[in-house]
């Protein structure tokens, strides 16, 4: 019952956050110079005052701000994000077309980073002065310092050009007709480099965090208790220490989800990965505001959902805050 109430509470809070994003979108559009009609007229190369007035009325821009906000919220809640200026199709459909690719990239990179980072951190924590530990330190420093797009480009030069192991761009080989397993393998091949690129930053962050947290946990009283029971080192580390040591990593992962998605935007443009990041990049070049605002909303939605998931997994891992 308590779990249910907490869950309900978090869900309501998430909905409020999303509402706030909708309001923010509205505010931004209104404080920005010009409005939708100005932009349209710019595209048409000028218009008569009568036409301008008619367009404004059509778009509801002659209403009071409050009425406009009200309409705006209602439209967005019904899933109506307007028409894309450039594609002339509903923003929602465009985004839903591109969303799966982004989700695939982000989740792959996320789990790759979480698993690799944690494993590296554990190994390094067990022997803090060893070579492995130093390698982890260097790796995490470099992973953090290298700009993500540059990492991607360097991987392209090495693994797509010098050693042509992986395709350089896109998500499918053009003209590829295979189905089933073949198609999956084709996508996976395209996924390798972008996923590693996106994960590199977070492998750095998580391995460093996991190392610190495991060092801390391994020195704690309950680990000594576990050892005093005669449990083997392996059981002590991978059962007793890991479940505690991973908690800060999960917290951090939740906090950084928005940055992960932001990173995906950059990675997608480097590898021409057909997700919402690439869509956003093209939208900004063409000043397609409705599309861009829609993407901001959907990506925030992803972050909010991911946070809900992290939150509940944290509750499963740590009984103290259940």
């Amino acid at each position: 019952m308590k779990t249910f109430l907490v869950g309900l509470n978090r869900t309501i809070y998430s909905l409020v956050l999303l509402l706030a994003v909708i309001v923010l979108n509205f505010i931004l559009v209104h404080i920005a110079p010009g409005d939708a009609v100005t932009a349209m007229i710019g595209d048409m190369g000028g218009a008569t005052p009568e036409l301008v007035a008619k367009l404004r009325a059509d778009y509801g821009l002659d209403q009071s701000l409050f009425t406009q906000l009200h309409t705006h919220i209602w439209k967005m809640m019904r899933g109506d994000f307007g028409l894309s200026f450039t594609h002339r199709v509903p923003v929602r459909d465009l985004i839903l077309d591109h969303l799966p690719a982004t989700i695939l990239l982000v989740t792959t990179a996320f789990f790759l980073a979480l698993i690799t980072g944690t494993i590296l951190g554990i190994i390094a924590a067990q022997k803090p002065k060893s070579l492995v530990s130093h390698v982890v330190t260097v790796l995490s420093l470099s992973g953090f310092a290298a700009p993500i797009f540059w990492t991607g480009l360097m991987l392209l030069i090495v693994f797509a050009y010098l050693l042509p192991l992986f395709p350089a761009s896109g998500m499918k080989t053009p003209g590829f007709q295979g189905t089933g397993l073949e198609a999956i393998v084709d996508v996976l091949k395209h996924l390798v480099l972008p996923a590693i690129t996106l994960a590199s930053v977070y492998i750095a962050v998580y391995s460093r965090l996991a190392r610190a947290s495991m060092l801390d946990v391994l020195g704690s009283d309950y680990i000594r208790t576990a050892r005093s029971k005669g449990l083997s080192r392996r059981v002590v580390v991978y059962k007793h220490a890991l479940k505690n040591g991973i908690l800060p990593v999960v917290t951090m992962a939740g906090l950084q989800f928005s940055q992960l998605i932001a990173g995906a935007v950059v990675v997608e443009t480097v590898f021409s990965w057909p997700g919402i990041g690439q869509l956003a990049f093209n939208a900004i070049l063409r000043r397609d505001h409705p599309l861009l605002l829609g993407i901001l909303f959907f990506s925030t939605l992803m972050v909010v959902v991911a946070n809900l998931i992290t939150d509940s997994s944290y509750r499963i891992l740590d009984p103290r805050i259940r």
Binding site: L17, A20, V21, L28, V29, A32, P33, P128, L141, S142, F144, A145, A146, P147, I148, F149, W150, L153, M154, L156, I157, Y161, R211, A212, L215, D216, L255, S258, Q259, I261, A262, G263, V265, V266, T269, V270, A280, F281, A283, I284, L285, R287, H289, L292, L293, I295, L296, S299, T300, V303, V304, N307
Partner: protein, 291 residues
């Protein structure tokens, strides 16, 4: 364990500034970071006197590989990569530092108010912080840039707007902790005003972790600016490292050097920041050492 505490206390009398310097300089990685930093700053300040030139100017044949004529080669427009890197150093530093100053001002102010006043102020400000935390930074900045006219000021401000949340949380946590200390209560009992307690009593004690966070933020800001310029969303008049990579990426197969070298410059700069930040962290917060 009790032994370790004792020895720790023995080597740590009152930790004056000299002690701090000593600890910082005993840390090889931190010194390496500092050297990298001095290198970048020297390049930014003196680079153009040693190797003068307009980064936008065509000086040679397009895509000349690195060699005698051009140490780091030229790009697809025949612009000298080395000149570009030297020029980019000052752009990068300027944006990195000013964005960090803005970030620190926003973050510390919000964190301090939330931590000191608590109750509804804290509640409100933390909800705002959480709201900013769920917005994907790059996308939010893209929206800001597309809605307003891009300029170097907008970029600096935009970077700050998406980066302050961590600093606010840190400042809040420190203030929450310190305001319960006896010496703060004593000040309050003696009738000191809130503003004076915040600025003169708590802030100095909360500084060590904040200084580290601010130092590390320079790195994040530089990376952010680089990514923006790479995407072509930076100030078109600023010849930054990210811009160099972004403008040449179509030619990645023909001239690897135009991408590799500016990226390496960013890498070394940010690495320097991290190393210095870690070194400061070790020297200022000795309890966290070994982490």
């Amino acid at each position: 364990m009790s032994n370790r505490e004792k020895t720790d206390a023995a080597v740590r009398p009152d930790r004056p500034l000299a002690e701090l310097w000593h600890m910082f300089f005993a840390n090889k990685a931190a010194v390496l970071g500092l050297v990298l930093w001095l290198l970048v700053i020297t390049t930014a300040v003196f680079g153009l006197t040693i190797h003068p030139g307009d980064p936008f100017a065509m000086v040679g044949a397009p895509m000349t590989p690195p060699g005698e004529e051009f140490l780091l080669g030229t790009d697809y427009l025949g612009r000298d990569v080395l000149t570009g890197i030297i020029h980019g150093a000052s752009v990068t530093l300027a944006i990195g530092f000013s964005a960090t100053v803005c970030t620190a001002i926003i973050g510390v102010t919000i964190g301090v108010l939330a931590g000191y006043y608590g109750r509804w102020v804290d509640n409100l400000l933390m909800r705002v912080t959480e709201f900013f935390q769920v917005l994907p930074p790059m996308l939010f900045v893209m929206v800001l840039i597309s809605l307003f006219t891009p300029s170097i000021y907008l970029i600096v401000l935009a970077i700050a707007v998406v980066s302050w949340t961590g600093m606010a949380r840190l400042a809040r946590a420190e203030f929450l902790k310190i305001k319960e200390m006896e010496y703060v209560k004593a000040e309050r009992a003696m009738g000191a005003r809130n503003a004076s307690i915040m600025a003169k009593v708590i802030l100095p004690n909360a500084l060590p972790p904040l200084i580290v966070a601010i130092a590390l933020n320079v790195g994040t800001a530089i990376l952010f600016e680089a990514a923006l310029s790479f995407l072509g969303l930076g100030d078109p008049n600023a010849f930054s490292w990210g811009y160099m990579i972004g403008s040449s990426r179509e030619y990645i197969w023909d001239s690897w050097w135009t991408i590799t070298f500016p990226g390496f410059a960013i890498f070394l700069t940010v690495l320097g920041v991290s190393l210095v930040g870690d070194g400061l962290n070790d020297a200022l917060n000795p309890k966290l050492r070994e982490l």
